[in-house]
Amino acid sequence: MNVDTLVMMANQIARNLAARGEEVAVAAVAEHIRDFWDPRMIKALHEAARDSLEPIARAALTRLGDSG
């Protein structure tokens, strides 16, 4: 998968949910990705360089990893 695209997507979701407050946002981003992304996309995002992810997206990915 095109990792740049996936990072961009994750960051965009995070930015749009950020106004709900960090804690809610992290959970919401994780839920959104779980609900709408094909597993191979999540897998590729896990393998991506985490520093290109914004904090909320990064935290959400961590949470996805924890639960998945």
Partner: protein, 949 residues
């Protein structure tokens, strides 16, 4: 069914709680107060002669054939303009009336051609019928008096002729143009005996006038004065089949009028609840593509895309395709396969394609063209209200007091609904338009928007949040409604968020470019002007914040209590005929029919039990992800039904790269479309005239599509999908689409009460149709939101990453034009191209002057993604800094310049905002020339002359 003209009661139906009883020719009859004597007579089975009256037009009283005698009333009043009264005694057939009617008819015929037998309206002419009815036998005036018999025919319109020598000056066409269509293009010119119908100014003909060719005048004409060219060529139809239009999301019902197997004309059906007897130039006239020479009717295959196509039998095509699919699945796994359903196909066909992907391919890699149009609507309304659909029926607009129109251009894209809306606006409803472009509704005859907020493209959320700021800070919110119907705590969080000073119209003016005072006035009007109804289109959804905008709209409606009754609501205007249905049928990779998530075990179990297979519990790939995954090598085979992703999806280069990377691309379509240039299998499709099934329109209305003629390729699309499934070994045995709908109903709670039999009986049904709503649901959320409490969602304005800069200083936005539809695959293959034969770039005079451009000049339109050339149209319809074009023509390929940016929640592409530069050009770009050559190469069919596009 046979050919019966549609019943006409003469004057419109009147709704009244008071019933009046009168006697007509000795028969007592009770009708609602306000009904005309003419209509009362018609309803009681009588028939009063008439020529100027029609029940979709206000009574006019000009022909003077419908005169009656009423006990106690002087003279002979016209029954069309005389309302019934309690105890009235009416006589419709007296010697005096018969004499008067014959006298009027004698006058008509003294100025009318006499060669009825060779007239195109012979035996379908109200003048002829009425002459027979009154028993005219002699025209004592003779035939040498003054007449209009020498007037010439205006055949400028490609679909109908205007022959003024046959005109009886009843004004039905003028009134239809005024009252039904609302364009006011026709007028009665001159006066007295010299009165003649004129389109536009006297120097105009129908084509050069403002006529939009909706056909209402042709429909209204009682003679052959306005007559379809097809009727003149083919003859009077001999049977009619009721079916549903396959163009936009309005879902007009038509009578397909046939002569043998030949379609003569499509006539809007008066009982159609979406269109109420009206039509537009596309549905009414643009069906010629069904017989166009470009249509492919034989299956074709090839090993690679640089080879010519090879025509093969259905058996060979299907077994070849199944073998390839099974091989790829065996080698790369189920998730390497996927399919795309079409919003132009029926619910049943769409359901089968997603079933094929989920149950046959074994993946959830199914997506639909709604991805690129209304996916944010599904997401946003599901989040806030609990249902991925609009809340109203179209009739509801007639109770709206304030119409808020956002990012939609109904007069071009949803013309029949636009006519309803204009009718309501003429009655006095107020209009607010939020659109970067000065669309026609901002100011057109007898319609003027109270406010036009010409926002900077990409700032929808900022504008709507600012409106919410005004409503909350000026205490205009409907707190009683919110407390009762919504989550009050969430509302307070939301209210605190929008009330922040940074969301004030003044603070956001620099971003939105909407004058704060205008925005405040618009917000106050929406909140306080009575029933507020929001209508929106792709100008809302096709943005990086499309889903946020939908939710911001829902927030506004909830905050002002404008939801859950007639006249209000949130109404997405759907682009294609069956976008709603395709979404309902489980076309998205993450959900099954009825919007139930694939991860939900109980739902999955229901399907698994019915289909006898295990389903993948994880969401599949969306279209753009499929293309990415194809380049990556993890996605290898795609079945595309009735969609042309190469032309319609953004960043054409990227789409092409994805398609090229796949092992197997199966295109199932009417024509060798642009996507087919990259395909290995071509399965010929069938038109909506060649199949049974259902479409679901923008108001959730499920309507029957009926087979009018046999499929040119031998199979309806659902049969092709079934044959492919069976070639793969799935063993399906549907004998009719009704069985597919039965399966949908069985598996989908909101469709539980739907069946073809119920649809036949009711005409149409609006889902949900179930035990709680056995007759369907015209208005949603009447007693509470589907999700329980209405959910306010904080929508923060996040600017798109697509920014203007020194190299790309202008913003490109895109849209549609009346005469063309979507990628133009159908409309370009009709005479509609006479109105729009190329895409042009609208540019503001200031921007044009800075670049030395004039209307008609070739310009190069370049973005960070790509470039194309087209001609310029200099107009102040667009604001400085904004340019606009349509995407109907493949030669322009506007999507070469659009970007990969998309909605954060649904990946709906950001078609509406692209930073571009515009410069003078000498003609088509190298890319366009190369593409043209490649397309010609790819369309070769072995044994055929080179295919033309």
């Amino acid at each position: 069914m046979g050919y019966e003209p549609q019943a006409d009661f003469g004057t419109p139906e009147v709704l009244s709680e008071i019933t009046v009883t009168l006697t007509i020719d000795g028969r007592p009859i009770s009708v609602p107060a306000g009904t005309s004597v003419m209509r009362a007579a018609a309803e009681s089975g009588g028939s009063i002669p008439k020529l100027c009256a029609s029940d979709n037009l206000a009574a006019f009283g000009s022909c003077r054939l419908c005169l009656v005698e009423v006990d106690g009333m002087r003279g002979t009043p016209a029954s069309c303009t005389t309302p019934v009264a309690e105890g009235m005694v009416v006589h419709t057939q007296t010697p005096r009336l018969q004499r008067l009617r014959k006298g009027v008819m004698e006058l008509y015929i003294s100025d009318h051609p006499l060669d009825c037998l060779t007239c195109s309206a012979n035996n379908d002419c109200e003048l002829q019928d009425t002459a027979a009815q009154v028993g005219l036998r002699d025209v004592r005036y003779g035939y040498e008096g003054a007449s209009h018999l020498g007037l010439g025919v205006d055949s400028s319109n490609p679909y109908f002729d205007f022959d003024p020598s046959k005109c009886i000056a009843c004004s039905r066409c003028v009134r239809a143009c005024d009252e039904v269509q609302g364009t006011l293009a026709l007028t009665m010119d001159g006066r007295g005996f010299a009165s003649t119908i004129s389109a536009g100014q006297s120097a105009d003909n129908f084509l050069s006038s403002e006529c939009v060719s909706c056909g209402a005048c042709v429909q209204a004409c009682p003679t052959a004065t306005l007559q379809e060219k097809a009727v003149k060529e083919i003859g009077k139809p001999e049977r009619a089949v009721i079916t549903t239009c396959a163009y936009c999301g309005v879902g007009c019902t038509f009578r397909a009028e046939m002569r043998g197997e030949q379609l003569v004309r499509m006539v809007p059906w008066k009982d159609g609840k979406a269109n109420r007897g009206h039509s537009c130039v596309k549905g009414r006239f643009a069906w010629g593509y069904a017989h166009h020479k470009d249509r492919i009717t034989s299956p074709m295959i090839r090993e690679s895309i640089d080879q010519p196509w090879r025509e093969v039998s259905w058996d060979e095509a299907l077994s070849h395709t199944a073998t390839r699919l099974n091989a790829i699945k065996a080698q790369h796994g189920a998730r390497a396969l996927g399919g795309i359903t079409s919003s132009r196909c029926t619910n049943e066909e769409t359901f089968l394609v997603q079933k094929l992907v989920r149950a046959g391919f074994g993946s959830n890699n199914v997506d639909t063209c709604a991805r690129v149009c209304h996916s944010p609507t599904g997401y946003g309304l599901k989040q806030t209200f609990g249902t991925s659909a609009g809340t109203q029926d179209f009739d509801s607009v007639m109770d709206a007091d304030v119409i808020l129109l956002i990012g939609a251009n109904p007069t071009d894209a949803h013309p029949v609904f636009a006519s309803r809306m204009k009718r309501r606006l003429r009655q006095g409803a107020k209009l607010i338009v939020i659109d970067p472009r000065r669309i026609d509704l901002v100011r057109s005859p007898h319609v003027e928007a109270a406010h036009h907020l010409p926002l900077q493209p990409g700032t929808n959320v900022a504008v709507l949040t600012a409106m919410a700021h005004v409503i909350v800070t000026e205490k205009l919110a409907d707190e009683a409604f919110i407390r009762e119907r919504c989550d009050w705590d969430e509302y307070q969080d939301w209210a605190a968020f929008v009330a922040d000073e940074r969301h004030s119209p003044e603070a956001l003016e620099a971003v939105t470019r909407v004058p704060a005072a205008d925005l405040r006035a618009a917000a106050r009007l929406y909140a306080t002007g009575g029933n507020g109804a929001i209508y929106y289109g792709l100008g809302v959804t096709e943005h990086s914040q499309g889903s946020s905008t939908v939710m911001a709209i829902a927030n506004l409606a909830m905050a002002t209590g404008n939801i859950g009754r007639r006249g209000v609501g949130v109404n997405p205007l759907r682009g294609q005929n069956n976008v709603q249905g395709a979404c309902d049928m489980g076309s998205f990779p993450h959900e099954l029919s009825g919007y139930r998530h694939i991860s939900d075990g109980a739902t999955r179990a229901l399907f698994e039990a019915d289909w006898g297979v295990a389903l993948d519990p994880d969401p599949g790939l969306r279209i753009p992800n499929m293309l990415d995954a194809a380049v990556d090598g993890s996605f290898r085979a795609l079945y595309v039904q009735g969609e042309d992703i190469l032309q319609s999806d953004p960043n054409t280069h990227h789409v092409a790269a994805g398609l090229k990377a796949m092992d197997l691309v199966i295109v199932h379509d009417l024509f060798l479309n642009e996507t087919a240039n990259y395909a290995h299998v071509f399965l010929p499709g069938s038109t909506f005239l060649e199949k049974d099934g259902t479409f679901t329109n923008a108001e959730r209305r499920i309507q029957l599509v009926r087979k009018v003629m046999e499929p040119a390729n031998g199979m309806s699309d659902w049969q092709v999908t079934q044959a492919l499934a069976n070639a793969m070994g799935l063993g399906w045995s549907y004998s009719h689409p009704r069985e597919i709908m039965d399966e949908v109903a069985r598996l989908t709670p909101s469709f539980a009460g739907v069946s073809f039999a119920r649809l036949e009986e009711a005409g149409s049904l609006q889902w949900p149709v179930n035990a709680a709503h056995p007759d369907g649901s015209p208005i949603m959320h009447e007693d509470g939101f589907v999700r329980g409490k209405g959910h306010f969602v904080v929508t923060d304005y996040i600017p798109t990453d697509e920014r203007t800069g020194p190299r790309y200083p202008l913003l490109l936005t895109t849209g549609r034009i009346l005469s063309q539809y979507n990628v133009g695959a159908q409309t370009r293959r009709t005479e509609n191209s006479i109105w729009h034969d190329e895409d042009v770039l609208e540019i503001h005079p200031t921007d044009a002057e800075n670049r030395g451009l004039n209307t008609g000049d070739w310009v190069r339109l370049a973005s960070r993604t790509g470039e194309t050339t087209l001609r310029a149209l200099v107009t102040d319809r667009v604001a400085p800094g904004v340019v606009y074009t349509t995407f109907h023509h493949p030669s322009t390929q506007a999507n070469v310049v659009t970007t990969d940016y998309s909605d954060w929640a649904t990946n709906c592409p950001e078609y509406k905002v692209t930073a571009v530069q515009v410069a003078p050009s000498n003609g088509p770009s190298d890319w366009q020339r190369d593409y043209d050559a490649q397309a010609r190469q790819s369309r070769r069919i072995a044994g055929h002359a080179e295919a033309a596009e």
